[in-house]
Amino acid sequence: MRQAAVTRLSSWSQRRHGIDSLPISVVRRRIYIVPSRFGVALGLLLMAMLLAGLNYNSNLGLAFGFLMTSLVLVAMHHCHRNLLGLTLDVTPDVDAIAGETAGFDFILRNDSLAERSDIEIRCGDGVVTQSVPPVGYQPVELNLAVERRGILRLPRIELRTRQPFGWFRAWTYVHHPLTAYVAPRPVGDHALPSAAAAAMGASHSDTRGDEDFAGLRAYEAGVPLKHMAWKVLARGGEPAVRSYTGLAGQPEWLDWSSLDRLDPEARLSQLCRWVLDSEAAQRSYGLRLPGVEIAPSRGPQHRTACLRALAEYPQSEAP
């Protein structure tokens, strides 16, 4: 029931505010605040205190009770204020691999002179709590465990605080979808297509083929440092990269259709394994999926593009 209420509230809030653009500054009308369980208990206690003070006709008791009541009201203002004017920014799209975590990088910025203590960022079922110093910012990383391949969409972010005393809970919803592209688990023991071909004895006899120096080519971003032709650079030439026959010569095609004996998810897992292995081996590789073809290349961007393609591959209807 509580869950349903939260869902209703957040969808109402989304209808009210629409999709937010980032970075977003928390304004007054989107902060909600309720007393926590301790707050409710304290409220009952205060009622008892005031009743006792009134009944005993004790002006000192009343003074004390009223001071406590006011303290609670001030605490409510402080709790609300703790979120007010806070600015949130986040990288909305991240890539992850199933079984690992999706790390969203948030930045909380505080332009005020007061510290924002204990700001909880809640997203999906992940929570992370950080304080933001006065006139400063605080990077916050929220790591969400991701188990399943696919595109994980989190419709909103919740900022929550219970400070200063935990008597109240103030929160706000930021309606900005976060997306994690979750690549399949890298599982599978099939050899790479080229290795498989080599095993069939068709092409190179030399297994150290990728070590063969084939000449220099122009530098491009993302080339591993160990392949840089430092001597050329030291002589004052243009940055150049040593190229090897195994790398530049024959791109590896990681092909969906070559794994026809596996079911779709296992195929994707195998492809993911290959992508990671090829990238680790500094090999040039391309990816072929039904309807998708990524031209051979290498480097982090290429790897990400390949993994994202694997993540985006439509889910097969689960049996």
């Binding site: 205190m49 002006n59 009201l73 929570v127 790591n143």
Partner: protein, 675 residues
């Protein structure tokens, strides 16, 4: 690869259960326990000592465990301790209701809670109990200092709570205390508005039990001059008197307390005469109107100036020996507005019953005194002559006034008159009364207070327990009851230390206090005046006071409804102030004058259409301005260069800052280049 994957997994802070379920640290435990201890200290006088000991013990055990890094003791042990303690509590009080039993139970629960604390959540309950204990302590007291102390305890508790509830790294203690103090200070105006205008109850919702632990103080309705007492030594205040107009002279300021009729040879006591009306009096002289403000004393008699003619409370009655009585014991500070005359005559002859009551004397006690009375009576047949003869005897024979009188045997009057000859007012009043009764003159002993210290800072008289006094009243045929104060007959040179004023009776208003240095006396009087103000303005604040307050605010015809309206208005004002106060921090204010001056420069340039872009540094901005407005190039260039120097040079000087600020102030760019 797989190793790094594993590492990545471990560093993840996922789906954190609840931060409140975190284990409590020694430091948090220590501070919350310390606050609990401070709160218990305030209710030490009302709590059974063993409760404080038990709470201290279990909290100590938990702290030691925490210091060693261990967790709470096993559940079974905790349950046993809890059951035993709460059982003992029930045996002692037979109830958990009421303020004393309730606070004792809460204290125990707080201690047991500390003992079983594992997580922060467990610790959260303790501050609430501390708040309630503070309230319970203040309900049983009227002291300003206690209130101040308890507010301090709450302040510390709130700071501790702030630290316990915080998940991310907390700073120093001083910072938390300061922050909590700020929040508490922000709560003050709201609390004041509520206190001033919150409607008060006319009568309690339920009967509050009378605090039975309050010790009775002051005079009792018996007097045993043979016993050693600490009479006259206490500086506690019995009551204060404010006269409308001039007070009567010191020799006539006798405040009448219990009147004693029955003497068993050693002790004077009082048996209730029943509901007999006071015989009418013919008052003489001028009336004195005054207010007596009694401190609680748990007796039902009030102290009025001799002889009371009118008083304000219809429920108070005058007994047939002119004692002003209240139906219930004086358990709260009580004001009596009354009118008295210092002289009176009886309008009716004495009744037979009263004559018998006040001439009754046991023939088996004090034989030597009876003998002396018979001898003197044979020499003085006239009542007044006889009285004077007895008083002369006190004056001429070596009778001493002392508070350190020796203990006397059963026939205390014999012992006093013939052996020791040393005593205080009680001895003299007792001996005099016995001598009178032995001669057949109706006599009674009156106890009360005499004299008093004037507080010139607030125009009232203070009567302390050391002003307690005893005197006699004798019946003179044809005129009525006559007050005789035999203590006043002692020769001045035979008055030892301890007597306030009788030695110098009729002279200056001196008392024991006034023999000390004047500034000490003044400080005490000023403090007492403050105490009276505290009581009248704060402790007795009532609906009437609220209406008076409204009248002073020029609100016509104040009543309860208008008080509520004013409360609403004040609350709105206080909330608006609070919102402003709390949000004030949100807009960053530049406190640095150089930055402010630079902002002003940018504003002025923005006003002529050249706003600084957020990414632009001072020099780049100056270059852009110079390109757009060559006429300003020199000025703006110089100012911006100086600003950069002030910001980035190693040792900016104050004079450089001042010249920059004045330069900006003088800089008034024209709207256009105006060639």
């Amino acid at each position: 690869m797989s190793a790094s994957l594993f590492a990545a997994k471990r560093s993840v802070t996922l789906n954190a259960p609840s931060v409140m379920a975190e284990r409590v640290t020694f430091e948090q435990l220590l501070w919350v326990t310390a606050c609990l201890g401070l709160a218990l200290l305030a209710s030490m006088s009302t709590l059974p000592l063993w409760i404080v000991a038990v709470v201290g013990m279990v909290a100590g055990i938990r702290l030691v465990l925490a210091a060693r890094g261990s967790d709470a003791p096993p559940r079974a042990i905790r349950l046993i301790i809890a059951a035993v303690a709460i059982g003992l509590l029930f045996l002692q009080f037979h109830t958990f209701n009421g303020l004393s039993a309730g606070s004792a139970l809460l204290s125990l629960i707080a201690g047991l809670k500390v003992l079983e604390t594992r997580t922060r959540r467990d610790l959260y309950v303790v501050p609430m109990i501390i708040y309630f204990l503070c309230l319970a302590a203040i309900l049983q007291s009227e002291s300003f200092w206690l209130l101040a102390y308890l507010v301090g305890v709450c302040w510390l508790t709130t700071a501790a709570l702030m630290r316990v509830s915080r998940v991310s790294r907390v700073g120093e203690w001083r910072g938390s205390v300061r922050h909590a103090g700020r929040i508490l200070a922000q709560a003050l105006p709201l609390a004041l508005a509520l206190w001033l205008f919150f409607p008060r109850l006319g009568s309690p919702l339920w009967q509050t039990p009378n605090a039975a632990n309050q010790a009775t103080s002051g005079l009792s309705d018996t007097m045993s001059p043979g016993d050693i007492t600490d009479l006259g030594l206490s500086d506690d205040i019995a009551f204060r008197v404010h006269f409308n107009g001039d007070p009567p002279p010191r020799t006539e300021r006798y405040y009448r307390g219990p009147v004693l009729h029955d003497f068993d040879g050693h002790t004077w006591s009082r048996t209730d005469a029943g509901a007999l009306a006071a015989p009418p009096l013919v008052f003489k002289g001028k009336p004195y109107q005054y207010t007596v403000s009694l401190e609680p004393n748990q007796h039902s008699w009030l102290f009025a100036l001799d002889w009371p003619s009118q008083w304000d409370a219809a429920s108070d009655v005058l007994t047939n020996d002119y004692m002003l009585m209240q139906a219930t014991p004086v358990s709260t500070p009580t004001d009596i507005v009354a009118t008295s005359y210092t002289h009176s005559e009886a309008a009716q002859p004495i009744t037979i019953g009263m004559r018998q009551r006040d001439t009754r004397l046991s023939r088996n006690h004090n034989p030597r005194t009876l003998e002396l009375a018979a001898k003197m009576r044979s020499e003085h047949s006239d009542d007044l002559d006889y009285i004077h003869a007895v008083l002369d005897m006190f004056h001429e024979q070596p009778f001493y006034y002392t508070l350190n009188s020796p203990r006397l045997a059963d026939d205390s009057v014999d012992g006093f008159l013939f052996d020791t000859k040393r005593g205080y007012c009680g001895h003299y009043a007792s001996a005099f009364a016995v001598l009178m009764r032995a001669a057949g003159i109706p006599t009674r002993v009156v106890t009360g207070y005499q004299g008093g210290t004037y507080n010139r800072f607030a125009n009232y008289w203070i009567l302390r327990q050391s002003d307690a006094h005893a005197w006699d009243e004798v019946w003179i045929e044809g005129s009525g009851w006559l007050r005789i104060d035999p203590t006043g007959s002692i020769a001045a040179e035979r008055v030892e230390a301890g007597l306030n004023d009788l030695a110098t009776q009729g002279a200056a208003d001196t008392s024991r206090w006034e023999q000390r240095s004047t500034w000490f006396k003044d400080v005490r009087l000023r403090l007492d005046a403050l105490r009276v103000m505290w009581r009248d303005r704060i402790l007795r604040f009532s609906q009437t006071s609220q209406e008076k307050l409204l009248a002073r605010m020029h609100i016509p015809e104040p009543d309860g409804q208008k008080v509520a309206l004013v409360l609403a208005a004040c609350l709105i004002l206080a909330m608006v102030w609070l919102t402003w106060q709390v949000r004030r921090d949100l807009t960053p204010r530049t406190r640095d004058p150089v930055s402010r001056a630079y902002e002003r420069l940018c504003r002025r340039l923005a006003a002529i259409g050249l706003p600084r872009s957020p990414y632009e540094g001072a020099e780049a901005y100056a270059a852009r301005v110079a390109a757009a407005r060559p006429d300003l190039a020199a000025t703006v260039g110089a100012l911006c260069r100086r600003y950069s120097q002030l910001r980035y040079a190693n040792t900016p000087t104050d004079s450089a800052a001042a010249s920059f600020i004045s330069g900006v102030r003088a800089f008034r760019p024209a709207k256009s280049a105006g060639k």
